[in-house]
């Protein structure tokens, strides 16, 4: 059972079950806990190789036991996500913890990943359960529906969930090269049904400079 204690600490109450969490993110626990490093995020040999090849690496640990365990990472804001059989796409650097019942994997993001400086691949989480994702400042959750498509700055994007199509928009014109660009040269447009998580901060990316 995930719950937030304040906005920057995640408390997980466990009764013999397990969670997967970012390596080294445990700050405290009471009760009996066992920590085990999960090589390759518990995705097996194939997942391990995929992660190594795609550069979407994450080191996870499995925490199992009785009691409460607290997680935090560099005072980042933590956001809880409930998954009911749908798929969450999140950058591996923004993932803090998931229920151990959730499957993780990698997926190709194409140009979006390249524009936000995070590589061409992203992490997917699937199944039923809870996940905790991190953001720089509290994330704003925005709904996307058929009549309300959403456009997002690649540097502020952290995760999305649901049945969404993403397309990459480029506003690069000759003015960009003359230093008179609109400052928002790269954008990701989401269409379909789902929600998008954005953070009130932009990571450094090539998109921030043009």
């Amino acid at each position: 059972m995930f719950r937030l204690q304040g906005s920057k600490v995640l408390a997980v109450d466990m009764t013999g079950d397990a969670v997967k969490a970012k390596n080294g993110s445990m700050v405290a626990y009471d009760g009996q806990m066992a920590f085990k490093k999960l090589s390759g995020g518990g995705e097996g040999i194939r997942g391990m190789v995929t992660r190594r090849v795609t550069g979407e690496q994450m080191t996870l640990m499995e925490v199992k036991g009785q009691g409460t365990c607290w997680f935090a990472d560099r005072a980042s804001e933590i956001n809880l996500v409930n998954l009911q059989g749908d798929k969450l796409f999140v950058e591996s650097s923004n993932l803090l913890a998931t229920d151990s019942g959730l499957r993780t994997g990698t997926s190709f993001t194409g140009l979006r990943g390249a524009s936000q400086g995070n590589g061409l691949f992203t992490t997917t989480i699937e199944g039923h359960g809870q996940a905790a994702i991190m953001s720089d400042g509290p994330a704003v959750v925005l709904r996307v529906s058929s009549q309300y498509p959403l456009t997002v700055d690649p540097g502020a994007y952290i995760a999305h969930q649901g049945n969404l199509r993403q397309s990459f928009q480029s506003g690069v014109t000759f003015r960009t090269f003359m230093g008179e660009g609109g400052g928002e040269a790269f954008q990701i447009r989401f269409e379909g049904d789902g929600v998008v998580y954005v953070q009130p901060s932009e990571r450094n990316s090539i998109a921030g400079d043009v």
């Binding site: 956001n79 409930n82 704003v140 609109g182």
Partner: protein
């Protein structure tokens, strides 16, 4: 803080997002209905609807820029957002607040200003690194930590100063006793004997409001460029007897900056 503590996060859509108001302490929502906003480059994080972002130099914006943008040094940092929809603004997870000006004037550190309505006119302040907004309208500013409002007379730490409204521009204040004499000089130079780090302040007098941030971490300084080389402009270097450029070589139009002068050509 609508998101915490929660049974679940609040999910926003264009109907529930506020119009020209804060979503939370770090995110501001601007509603455009065929209208325009000036916006610092790269501060848009997401938008619904259809919008266009154009650099200040864009031809169609000429009239708008002529009436509300008077700072050529900052032109490359600003864009105009136009169209219709709702747009979210944020800056490095700093606190974001909106302020209303009514027939007023307010001077703000250039890096802290995120966006403003074109009903306001933006001008460069005589104090380097600061911008002045004049007129009636709304603007959005970021600060590291919440903003505190103070009334003059007051002396403030230069790093905590965000801006000021209505009162005259500040002057420097040095702690005389601490800075003078042999020991004072040594202390200032070496820090030995305990420099408190608070020997220098900005002093405000007159009627008005001073805005402070509750942290001494500055926003990344926006390049403010150089002030024009004109007599009477502080820092402009156009002082008689200390000419800003070498005598006998008047600055030609189209000259390559001041490179030649730097290399002694």
């Amino acid at each position: 803080m609508t998101t915490y503590p929660g049974a679940g996060p609040v999910i926003h859509d264009p109907m529930t997002l506020p119009a020209d108001d804060s979503v939370n302490a770090y995110t501001f929502c601007v509603e455009l209905k065929g209208s325009e906003w000036f916006l610092q480059k790269g501060k848009m994080i997401a938008y619904y609807g259809s919008m266009e972002f154009n650099g200040i130099g864009h031809g169609r914006l000429d009239r708008l820029v002529r009436t509300s943008f008077h700072s050529p040094l900052h032109a490359s940092d600003w864009v105009v957002a136009s169209g219709s929809g709702k747009m979210l603004l944020a800056d490095r997870a700093f606190d974001v607040n909106s302020y209303d000006l009514e027939e007023g004037n307010l001077t703000i550190r250039s890096g802290n200003l995120l966006a403003f309505q074109p009903t306001l006119a933006l001008k460069q302040s005589i104090v380097p690194g600061f911008l002045t907004l004049i007129g009636t309208g709304k603007f959005v500013a970021a600060s590291n930590g919440p903003v505190v409002f103070m009334e003059p007379p007051i002396r403030v730490d230069p790093q905590a100063l965000v801006g000021w409204a209505d009162c005259p521009s500040p002057c420097h204040h040095y702690d005389h006793g601490y800075m003078t004499g042999l020991m004072g000089g040594l202390r200032a130079l070496t820090g030995l004997g305990g420099a408190s780090g608070e020997e220098h302040q900005f002093e405000f007098v007159g009627a008005g409001t001073v805005l402070l941030q509750s942290s001494e971490t500055l926003m990344a300084e926006q390049a403010t460029g150089a002030v024009p080389h004109e007599p009477g402009v502080p820092g402009g270097g156009g002082v008689p007897g200390r000419p800003g450029q070498q005598a006998g070589s008047p600055r030609l139009p189209g000259q390559l900056g001041d490179l030649q002068r730097r290399f002694g050509l």
